[in-house]
Amino acid sequence: MSDFLTMGGYGFYVWGSYLVTALLIVIEAVAVCARFKASRRAAADAGRGR
C-alpha cells in the first residue's frame, strides 16, 4: 500500500498528474451541469414571459 502511494519515489509527479486531472474533469462536469440548469431555467422564464 505504501509502495502504491509513494509510486517508487515518483508519488508527487504521478499523483500530481492524476489528482489535478481528476479535479479539472470534476470541475468541468459540475460547471457544465450547472450551466445547463441555469439555461433551462432562463428558457422556462422566457417562455412564461418572465
Binding site: S17, T21, V32, S39, R40, A44
Partner: protein, 245 residues
C-alpha cells in the same frame, strides 16, 4: 427521395436537443466504467517500468489527453467548416461546445507532460517543438473562445470564430509530426507493438481504455454544453417553451 434516411432532421436544434438528452447518460456511464477499468489497469495491473520506474504511469493520462486535444480541435474545425459552408446553426453550436473541453484536455496534456518531464528528462518545460506547438494549441482554443465572446451577434461570432479555427487547424499536423520534423526533446510516437511485447500490450491496453473513457466523457460533456447553447440561443422559440415550460 422519401425512402432516404432523414439525416438532416437531426441538423435542426429542435430535433437534436431531445436526442442529445437521451444519449448523455449512456456516454457518461460508459466513460465512468472505462475510466475505472483504465485507472485499475494503469495504476495496479501494469507493472513498474524498468527504465522510468512508476513515473511512466503518467502516460496513461498524458497520451490520451494529448490525443484528445488534437482530435477535438480537428472535429471543431470540421464543424466550423460545415457552419461556414452550409450556414448551419447546429454545426456552429457544436464547435462552440467543443472548444472548452478541447482546451481542458490540452491543459491536462501540458500539465501531465511537465510532471512526467521533470523526473524523466530533468525539466518541467523546454521550448521543444512538440511542447511549443501544443502550447500554441491551447492559445488557439483560448483565442477561439475569446473571439466568440467578444462578438455579441451569435451568427457573426460563428463566422469569425470559424475562420480562426480553420486557420489554426494548420497547427494540428505540426503538433503531430513535430517529433519527426524537428529532432528536439520530446520523443517519437510510443504506440507501436514492436517494443517488449508483454509490457507494451498491457500498457497499450491501459492507454486505449483511458482514451475511450476520455472520448465518451468528452461526448457527454459536449452534448450537455450543446443543449445549453441551444437553450440560450433559441430562447423564445415555441418548441423550447413547450420542452422546458
Amino acid at each position: 427521395m422519401n425512402s432516404s434516411i432523414h439525416w438532416f432532421r437531426f441538423a435542426s436544434p429542435a430535433s437534436f436537443y431531445p436526442l442529445a438528452g437521451r444519449l448523455v447518460p449512456w456516454f457518461a456511464i460508459a466513460a465512468a466504467i472505462l475510466a475505472a477499468i483504465g485507472l485499475w489497469v494503469g495504476l495496479v495491473v501494469a507493472p513498474t517500468d524498468a527504465q522510468q520506474g512508476d513515473a511512466y504511469r503518467i502516460i496513461f493520462i498524458h497520451v490520451p489527453a494529448a490525443w484528445m486535444s488534437m482530435f477535438i480541435y480537428v472535429v471543431m474545425a470540421f464543424w466550423c467548416a460545415i457552419s461556414l459552408g452550409f450556414n448551419a446553426r447546429l454545426a456552429a453550436m457544436l464547435a462552440q461546445a467543443l472548444a472548452p473541453t478541447g482546451a481542458l484536455f490540452t491543459a491536462i496534456a501540458l500539465w501531465t507532460g511537465a510532471l512526467w518531464g521533470k523526473p524523466t528528462w530533468g525539466t518541467y518545460w523546454a521550448w521543444d517543438a512538440r511542447m511549443t506547438s501544443e502550447l500554441i494549441l491551447l492559445f488557439l482554443y483560448f483565442g477561439y473562445i475569446a473571439l466568440r465572446n467578444a462578438i455579441d451577434d451569435p451568427r457573426r461570432a460563428d463566422r469569425a470564430s470559424s475562420v480562426l479555427a480553420l486557420v489554426g487547424a494548420v497547427n494540428v499536423p505540426i503538433i503531430y509530426f513535430s517529433v519527426k520534423w524537428w529532432n528536439t526533446l520530446h520523443q517519437g510516437a510510443s504506440v507501436s507493438l514492436s517494443a517488449a511485447p508483454k509490457m507494451a500490450a498491457i500498457m497499450l491496453t491501459g492507454m486505449l481504455v483511458m482514451t475511450f473513457a476520455a472520448w465518451f466523457y468528452a461526448i457527454a460533456v459536449v452534448l450537455v454544453r450543446t443543449r445549453s447553447i441551444i437553450l440560450d440561443r433559441e430562447r423564445g422559440a415555441a418548441w423550447i417553451s413547450e420542452t422546458v415550460g
